[in-house]
């Protein structure tokens, strides 16, 4: 094993096991990627390629220019690129995909010290970056299924929204990877079986949004809400990033609840129909504080 540098938790395993984990994540994302291409067509494939290649090349270039050991072998850049791609809609021009991927890798990850040293999830931060920077990113219509995303439609009166079956399968407008709940759930199951992630964050995150939406609008509406938007992909794949989420179980739960609450608030009270990205990014900021708290909660109860 390599010698560890003196850095704070979480510590990263040696290169071999990191790439194993990353490979598992890529495999878990395959159903969603296949669904993306199936539903949205060849454009989805270009977007995936643009993001992944952009990410890997960015990391390779950064390491070369700063004289560091090449890290693209650990496949974390591939994961980031793939996740970012699945968060975009087919409207996004390819050059923007590359800019976003470069931002995710170089600014959010490498400049902060590389894998394990970033405090914000690169894919999420890049998605927010692209949301703010370019206008075509937030959902938007696609070639096969025209019209705005369900979340946008829900905001307009009398608009025809996709049925529940479509919501599960993913045959409606939105970002290419977020729509197919079925595909994402398959990926979730794989990650659980491979013990890559624990169930806490995704279940509590989605559960919180469900409960809050249920209180706001009833069961059907709540079910619809959790299937729409980037909730599944965010809760399963990005909120669970080891580096940017708490280690302890209690911490994970707190983190997930926070994400859920903020997602609810942003979806209902703010201009953006998509709250998941912002909520994960905001909760990323509080992870060190959450970890401090959850360590202090003694087993037997309060002070």
């Amino acid at each position: 094993m390599k010698a560890f540098s003196m850095s704070p938790a979480p510590h990263i395993h040696s290169g071999a096991s990191t790439s194993r984990v990353m490979l598992d994540v890529v495999i878990a994302l395959l159903p969603a990627s296949v669904a993306a291409v199936a539903i949205f067509g060849i454009k989805a494939l270009w977007i995936i390629l643009a993001c992944v290649i952009g990410a890997v090349v960015s990391e390779a270039l950064f390491n070369m220019c700063t004289g560091r050991k090449q890290t693209i072998g650990d496949m974390s850049a591939v994961v980031t690129g793939l996740l970012l791609a699945l968060n975009l809609s087919t409207n996004v021009p390819l050059w923007q995909c590359v800019v976003g991927a470069a931002f995710a890798i170089i600014v959010v990850k490498c400049l902060f010290g590389g894998l394990g040293c970033n405090f914000a999830n690169p894919a999420i931060t890049a998605r927010v970056f692209m949301l703010i920077t370019f206008s075509a990113v937030a959902g938007g219509s696609t070639e096969l299924y025209s019209g705005a995303t369900p979340l946008e439609l829900l905001g307009t009166e009398g608009a025809a929204i996709p049925g529940m079956g479509a919501m599960f399968l993913g045959t409606y407008g939105g970002a290419i990877g977020e729509t197919s709940s079925v595909a994402l759930l398959i990926g979730f199951a794989y990650l659980l079986v491979r013990k890559v992630i624990s169930w806490h964050i995704p279940v509590v995150f989605i559960g919180t949004v469900f409960v809050l939406t249920f209180i706001a609008g009833g069961a059907n509406f709540a079910l619809y809400q959790i299937l729409a938007g980037g909730l599944f992909i965010g809760a399963i794949f990005m909120a669970t990033d080891y580096v940017t989420s708490p280690i302890t179980k209690k911490g994970k739960v707190i983190f997930a609840v926070g994400c859920g609450v903020i997602t609810f608030i942003v979806r209902y009270f703010c201009a953006y129909p998509e709250g998941v990205s912002f909520s994960i990014l905001i909760m990323n900021l509080f992870v060190p504080i959450i970890e401090r708290f959850s360590r202090n909660i003694p087993l037997g109860g309060g002070k």
Binding site: L111, F112, G113, P288
Partner: protein, 174 residues
């Protein structure tokens, strides 16, 4: 203003239009002062007190027709309030320089100068709360930001500014 509107003022001052993250004010001290425990509370109190006084004085200045003296008068008020705060806190006080020389105080005073008294109070309160939360976040991120893998050119200050940029992106939703 109604209570609901006032609450909204507090919320927006703390989060949505947070002076630090959307206006850059107070950034330098929010990072430098993050390590001292008493700093955020002290600064919070000073923000509220000095903004209130400045708000009152603004009305007087306008009626006297010398509105252009505003900056100087506010600066004077801030100096006095900070000096008193340092005296009052005795041992636990942050240094006078650190307390005075930050842009949040003057920034809040100038932004809130033409508000009604209740609104100004809420605005100052919101700013103080938002500032305090931000200080806590920065303090907790300190460890991660100081890790040895950060590129040399970015070590220390630049990476902290970059982190602030990401934090600013995070609350962009509001």
């Amino acid at each position: 203003m109604t209570v609901k509107e006032l609450l909204l003022v507090i919320l927006s001052a703390a989060v949505a239009d947070n002076l630090v993250l959307s206006g850059y004010f107070g950034f330098d001290s929010s990072v430098l002062g993050a390590n001292k425990k008493s700093f955020s509370l002290c600064l919070g109190a000073v923000i509220i007190v000095s903004t209130l006084i400045c708000n009152l004085l603004h009305g007087i200045l306008v009626s006297m027709g010398v509105e252009y003296m505003e900056i100087m008068v506010f600066a004077l008020v801030i100096l006095v309030v900070c000096a008193i705060a340092v005296k009052l806190m005795g041992e636990k006080a942050p240094s006078f320089a650190m307390l005075t020389l930050n842009s949040v105080l003057l920034g809040v005073a100038l932004t809130g100068h033409s508000m009604g008294l209740a609104e100004a109070l809420c605005y100052a309160l919101g700013t103080a709360i938002g500032f305090w939360v931000l200080l806590e976040v920065f303090a907790s991120l300190r460890l991660k930001l100081n890790n040895p893998n950060v590129p040399k050119a970015f070590k220390g200050m630049p990476i902290t500014v970059l982190a602030a940029g990401i934090i600013a992106m995070a609350i962009y939703a509001f």
